[in-house]
């Protein structure tokens, strides 16, 4: 299963940050790294469309870290990478931007990043499965009083 680029952050952040840092440092070791947007930690503002009239409003803020960069290999190949991640951790944003660049441009080592994305996606899928299980275990069919003889169905 090939995940789209927009889903890489969710998959990768299923792993512990130190594992991601180690991978990124290894892959970037032979590259020239130029930051096009400095790693920064701050806040993002969460804007929603309300459910009654679809008007925009702000629900609140969330920690946000961002980074954009460019990797250049010795043979001249270049790759752009970037990350915006819900975390108060600028170093994590830098690491994710490196992994994003390596995987997007298929730079040496991209298979390792892809493997991490796949593994992370499986972890996220497991969490999603548990959430769906909460729904499935509590699905309810309310019946009007007197319409049925059984309190619960076991279908």
């Amino acid at each position: 299963m090939e995940l789209e680029r927009k889903d890489w952050i969710r998959a990768l952040t299923a792993h512990p940050a130190p594992d991601l840092h180690a991978l990124a440092e290894r892959l970037a070791a032979g590259c020239e790294l130029r930051l096009t947007r400095l790693p920064q930690a701050g806040l993002g503002l969460l804007q929603l469309a309300d459910g009654a009239f679809h008007e925009a409003y702000y629900l609140g803020e969330f920690p946000l870290s961002t980074c954009s960069l460019e990797l250049t290999l010795a043979d001249g190949r270049r790759a752009e990478g970037g990350a915006q991640v819900m975390a108060d951790d600028a170093a994590l944003a830098r690491t994710l931007a490196i992994l994003d660049a390596v995987l997007a441009a298929r730079l040496p080592g991209w298979e390792d990043v892809s493997a991490q994305v796949q593994a992370g996606a499986r972890l996220r899928a497991e969490a999603d499965r548990r959430r769906r299980a909460m729904l499935a275990a509590t699905r309810v069919d309310f019946a009007l009083l007197g319409n049925t003889g059984e309190d619960d169905d076991e279908a």
């Binding site: 952050i9 701050g42 503002l45 309300d50 629900l59 969330f62 991640v85 819900m86 729904l135 509590t138």
Partner: protein
């Protein structure tokens, strides 16, 4: 009225902080089994407490909210204050586009308007139908028993093929022409309460944002006044949802919306008494909306009732306190109100001396014995 700067007491103030820390750690005196509260334990086992703090602090940072709970010994107002203090040190980097909450990854979804809704009702984690009795077996819960509960539940749950998103109940009512249309009231720019003061009248987006980070009890109390007779919203919960909303931001390179993370949130949409939008117009249900960070259904329902009450107040003029935007929006913030209440503990020696002087003078002038 004047305030006076005081000096002195530095040692006592430091001592007060130390005494508070002593109380936090007193359990460890002579008790080799005593352990500090782990942040993860607070996050998971006191999750509703953490949810209140992320919501009332206005920042979805569950780890720091749990830390704030720990350092404040469980005081939600102090914890929300600490979280807001932290946020005030952080730069604003970005804002999401208006996100669609129908994309929430749900763990609970109910309707009290219809027994059958598209996609079905799922109770999820709720104490709604449980007996509110003390579970005395938890007084002495062993680590083994604790770990077995979640493991057994997971092993016994069935694989479920369920959709990733569910349609909104309101959309079905709107399709039948029973609700006001959305296009007439659509606004492009949301009001940012962290950057702009509330100068009345304020747009609805300011009211929603203010209530979203309001103190739960304050919101509930004013909404309760409406329920009890000082108002006539009479809501029916069209839909109440709890789940994880993907937070989408443009990818820095491609510009495509990418998932940066997710927030747990509660959302409630209520249908209220019908009315004609304009004289002679077709009557339609009125609607109210509430939402907040975390799992906090009382807050979301209260907010939805007040949203509807405020819409009525803004249109027709307030007939009750819960319909008055100034009354509601200026009194529901926990950090603001606890700050005002707490400031009465600070030295007011000069102002009170002035009060004493005035009273004595007044008594002398009125001929009463001093």
């Amino acid at each position: 009225m004047s305030y006076v700067a005081i000096k002195g007491g530095g040692r006592a103030i430091a001592g007060a902080a130390a005494v508070t820390e002593y109380l936090r750690t007193e359990e460890g005196l002579g008790n080799p089994d005593a352990e500090p509260l782990e942040i993860d334990a607070i996050l998971h086992q006191l999750r509703h407490l953490v949810d209140r703090v992320v919501s009332e602090g206005g920042v979805y940072h569950p780890q720091f909210a749990a830390l704030a709970v720990k350092q404040s010994l469980g005081d939600t107002l102090e914890a929300a204050f600490a979280l807001r203090a932290w946020r005030s040190t952080r730069p604003r980097l970005s804002a999401t586009p208006p996100l669609d909450t129908s994309r929430m990854r749900l763990i609970r979804r109910i309707s009290s308007a219809f027994k059958e809704i598209p996609g079905g009702q799922m109770l999820g984690p709720t104490p709604d139908y449980a007996l509110r009795l003390l579970r005395l077996e938890l007084m002495d819960e062993s680590p083994e028993a604790f770990r077995a509960v979640a493991r057994d539940w997971l092993e016994n749950c069935r694989e479920a093929q369920l959709p990733d998103s569910y349609p909104k109940v309101l959309d079905a009512l709107r399709a039948e022409g029973l609700l006001p249309p959305v296009a007439k009231t659509r606004r492009q720019t949301a009001f940012d309460i962290t950057r702009e003061p509330l100068v009345f009248p304020v747009p609805r987006s300011a009211a929603l944002a203010t209530m979203a980070r309001a103190e739960t009890g304050s919101l509930l109390a004013i909404a309760y006044s409406n329920m009890r007779g000082y108002g006539d919203v009479h809501p029916t919960v069209a839909e109440l949802r709890v789940g994880y909303l993907p937070v989408l931001l443009p990818h820095p390179v491609t510009g495509e919306l990418a998932e940066a993370g997710e927030v747990l949130m509660t959302e409630c949409e209520v249908v209220a008494m019908y009315a004609a939008a304009e004289p002679g117009g077709k009557p339609q249900f009125t609607v109210g909306y509430g939402a907040c960070f975390g799992h906090n259904e009382v807050k979301a329902i209260s907010m939805a009732i007040l949203d509807r009450a405020l819409q009525k107040g803004m249109q027709d003029g307030p007939a009750n306190p819960s319909e008055d935007p100034e009354f509601v929006l200026l009194h529901v913030d926990g950090v603001d109100s606890m700050g005002f209440a707490s400031h009465y503990k600070m030295p007011h020696y000069v102002t009170f001396q002035s009060d004493l002087d005035r009273l004595r003078t007044t008594q002398q002038k009125s001929g009463e014995p001093a």
